[in-house]
C-alpha cells in the first residue's frame, strides 16, 4: 500500500517542476473566472436607438422622453428623415429605429388607431427579441397613460381591470453574474482536469518512460490511482479557491450545503479524469490528445446548458445532453448554490454521475491494459 503515495509524490514533483504548466494550472483558472464572469453576459444593455419623428408634436416628444427615461435605450439621433436611421443600422451605430407617423398626436387624441413602426437589426436574435419586448412594454405603458388622461366615454366603462404583478425568485436583482459564476466554476475544474489528465499518461508514452513503469512491480490499479489522485486533489483545490472568489467578489449566495457541493464534485472529478485518461490511452502524442480533448470539451461545454438553456434545445439535443457530465454538474451547482436544493432534490443527479464515473473509469482501465500489454 506504500506504493501509491510514492507515485503521487512523483506526480506532484513533476507538476511543480514544469514551469510552463504552473501558471496554466494556478493562474489561468482565476483569470478565466474573472474575465468570463464579466464577458459571458447575455444581459442586453446599452441598446442604441434612432428615432424618426414625422410628427414633432407634444405627444411624440413625450414618447421619446419615455424611451430615454427607461435606461434601456441610448438615443443616437432624432430626425424626420428615414435615411439617416438606416445608415446608422448599417454601420452598427444603432440597434433599432422607432418611427413615429404623421398625425400621431391628432389620431391619438381623437381615438383613431395609429401605428408606430419598430425596425430592429435582428442579426443578434436574442438582442432583437429583447429590444422588441422592452419597446412594446414602454409603448403599452405610454398607451395606458394617454388613455387615462382622455375623457371617459360610455364605452370605456366596460374596461376590465386586471392587476398583474410579477416576481423574480432566487435572483431578485436579475444579476447575470449570479447565474453564470456557478457554471463557470464547473467549466474551470473541467478544463483543468481534462487537459492535465489527458496529456499525462500519453506523455509517458511519448517519452517512453511508460515502459519503465510497466516493468516495475506497480500494479495497474495502483498506477491509475496514483496517477489520478494528484489531479483529483488539484481539481478540488481549484474548486475551493473558485468558491471563495465567487463568495468574496461576486457575492454568490450559498443557499445549499457546501458539503453536498464537495461530495458531488468529488465524484464529478472522477468522471472528468476518467475521460482524460481514456483519451490518453487511445492517443500516441500529446498533440493528438490535446486536439481530441479540445474537440470533446467544446461539445460538452456548448451542450451543458451553461450558456444557453437545455430546455430550449430540440428534443434530440436534449437527449444527447443526458450523456454530458458537464450538464449534470452545471445544473447541480445552480440548483444547490442559488436555490438551496437539498439532497432529495438532486439525488438523481448523484445517481447519474456515479454511474458515469464507474463506466468511464472501467473503460479507461480496460483500454489501458490492452495497449500496455
Amino acid at each position: 500500500m506504500k506504493i501509491i503515495p510514492f507515485i503521487v509524490q512523483k506526480e506532484f514533483l513533476q507538476i511543480f517542476r514544469n514551469k510552463s504548466m504552473l501558471p496554466i494550472i494556478f493562474v489561468m483558472p482565476f483569470v478565466q473566472l474573472l474575465v468570463l464572469s464579466y464577458a459571458a453576459n447575455f444581459e442586453v444593455k446599452n441598446l442604441t436607438l434612432y428615432i424618426t419623428d414625422h410628427d414633432y408634436s407634444a405627444a411624440s416628444q413625450r414618447l421619446v422622453n419615455k424611451f430615454q427615461g427607461t435606461g434601456y435605450f441610448q438615443l443616437t439621433g432624432l430626425s424626420s428623415g428615414v435615411q439617416a436611421g438606416f445608415e446608422q443600422i448599417e454601420k452598427n451605430e444603432a440597434d433599432l429605429i422607432l418611427q413615429i407617423p404623421f398625425d400621431f398626436e391628432k389620431n391619438l387624441y381623437s381615438r383613431q388607431p395609429t401605428d408606430l413602426q419598430l425596425i430592429v437589426n435582428a442579426i443578434d436574435g436574442i438582442k432583437a427579441g429583447l429590444a422588441n419586448t422592452y419597446s412594446n412594454a414602454i409603448i403599452a405603458d405610454f398607451n395606458e397613460e394617454i388613455s387615462a388622461e382622455l375623457p371617459v366615454t360610455q364605452v370605456m366603462r366596460r374596461a376590465v381591470p386586471i392587476q398583474i404583478e410579477s416576481h423574480n425568485w432566487f435572483n431578485t436583482e436579475l444579476d447575470y453574474k449570479t447565474f453564470m459564476v456557478p457554471g463557470i466554476l464547473v467549466l474551470l475544474v473541467t478544463m483543468i482536469g481534462a487537459f492535465l489528465s489527458s496529456m499525462n499518461i500519453v506523455r509517458e508514452k511519448e517519452i517512453g518512460t511508460i515502459e519503465q513503469l510497466n516493468a516495475t512491480t506497480i500494479k495497474k490499479h495502483q498506477f491509475i490511482i496514483g496517477k489520478l489522485l494528484p489531479f483529483w486533489l488539484l481539481g478540488l483545490a481549484e474548486l475551493t479557491f473558485g468558491l471563495i472568489l465567487a463568495r468574496l467578489i461576486f457575492d454568490i449566495p450559498f443557499e445549499g450545503s457546501l458539503l453536498l457541493v464537495f461530495g458531488f464534485a468529488a465524484i464529478y472529478m472522477l468522471v472528468v479524469l476518467g475521460i482524460g485518461m481514456f483519451i490518453s490511452t487511445v492517443t500516441d502524442t500529446q498533440q493528438q490528445a490535446m486536439f481530441i480533448a479540445w474537440f470533446f470539451l467544446v461539445i460538452f461545454i456548448l451542450m451543458s446548458g451553461l450558456f444557453t438553456a437545455i430546455e430550449n434545445m430540440p428534443i434530440w439535443a436534449q437527449q444527447i445532453t443526458r450523456f454530458n457530465p458537464v450538464a449534470y454538474f452545471v445544473k447541480f451547482m445552480r440548483m444547490v448554490l442559488l436555490k438551496g436544493s437539498t439532497f432529495q432534490d438532486v439525488q438523481y443527479l448523484f445517481g447519474a454521475i456515479t454511474l458515469y464515473a464507474i463506466i468511464i473509469n472501467v473503460l479507461a482501465i480496460l483500454n489501458y491494459r490492452k495497449t500496455s500489454i
Binding site: 395609429t114 425596425i119 398607451n143 386586471i162 481530441i292
Partner: protein, 367 residues
Amino acid sequence: MKQFIAFVKKEFYHIFRDKRTLLILFGMPVVQVILFGFAITNEINEAHIVFLDKSHDVATDKIKDKILSSGYFRLNEKTPRSSADLQEIFREGKVKVAVVFGQNFYKNMLTHQSANIEILADASDPNMATTLTAYVTAIIRQYQAEEQTITGGLIGTEVKMLYNEQLKGVFLFVPGVITVILMLVSAMMTSITITREKELGTMEILMVSPLKPGLIILGKSTPYIALAMINAVTILLLAWTVFEMPIRGSLLLLLAECLLFVITSLSIGILISTITNSQQTALLISLMALMLPTILLSGFIFPINSMPLVLRYVSNIIPARWFIEIVRSIMLKGVGLEVIWTETLVLAGMALLFIVVSIKKFNIRLG
C-alpha cells in the same frame, strides 16, 4: 520553384499522415455548425409552467387555455395547492414560471374591482425570466383586450426585423464558427508544426537546404492556407444548404476577406513559433492567448456592448472581433467594401505588424 513545390508536398504528406488530427480538423466545423444551428438557441421552447388557481372560474380557465396554447409553455405535472408548494416546486428545478390567480377572479373582473394575477419566475436565469414574464403578461393583456368592447390599445406597433426575420440564432453564430475554425487551423496548427521541426531538430536541416528561410516559412504555411479555405467554404456551404443562411453581399469579397484573416492568423502563428521551443508551450500559448480571447471577447457568443468598458477596449486588439464584423456585414447586410473598409484596414495592419515582428525575430534566431 521546383524545390518549393516539393517542399509544400512534404508538408501535405505530414498533414495527411496524421489521420486523427485530420478527422478532427474536418469534423469540427461540421459538428460545430450543426450544434450551433440546432441546439444552441435562446428561443423559448415549451417552458414548464404551473398554475395556482384560487378561483377556478370561467376567466381563469380561459387565461390558462390561452397561455398553454401559445406554444411557449407546457403544463408541468405538479399542481401546487398553496403558495408554500411553489417554493418546493421551483427548487426541483424544472418549472420556470408560476401564475397565481387571486380569489374571486371573475367576480372581481365583473364588478370592476381589481382581479389579481401574480407571475412568479425562476430568475436564476435572468434573461429567461424576463422573457417568460413578458410573454405571460402579453397573453393576459390580450385576453383583457378581447374582453373589453373597445381595445385599450390605441397605438399599434408594427415590428420589422431587419436582416434576420425569423431571429435565427445560427445567423449570429456562423460567422463566429468560421472565425474560430480559421484561427485554429491557421494560427494553432502553424505554430505547432513549425515548433515541431524545431523540437525534433529538423529545422536545422531545412536551414542548410538551398531554400531561403522566407520560402521555408511560406512553404510550411501554404498547406494550412489551403486547409483553412476549404474549411471556410465547407462552413458556408453548410450554413447555406442546411440553415438557408444567405450571402447577401459579394461572395468574392467574402472569400478575399477570409484569405486576409487567414494571413493575419498565420502571421500570429508564425510569431508564436519564433518565440517558443516546445510544442506543448506553443499549444498552450495558442490556446490561452488566441483561442480563449477569440471565443470570449470577439462578440462571437457574447455581445461586446454588454461587457464592462475595460473588456470592450481589450476586444479591439483581437483580430477576430474585426473579422466577425466583416463577415456579418457581408453575409447578412449585403454591404460592400465602402462600409467595411475600416475593419479590413485594421486586419491588414495587424497582419503586416505581425509579419514584420516575426521576420525580425526569425532573423535573430538564424544568427
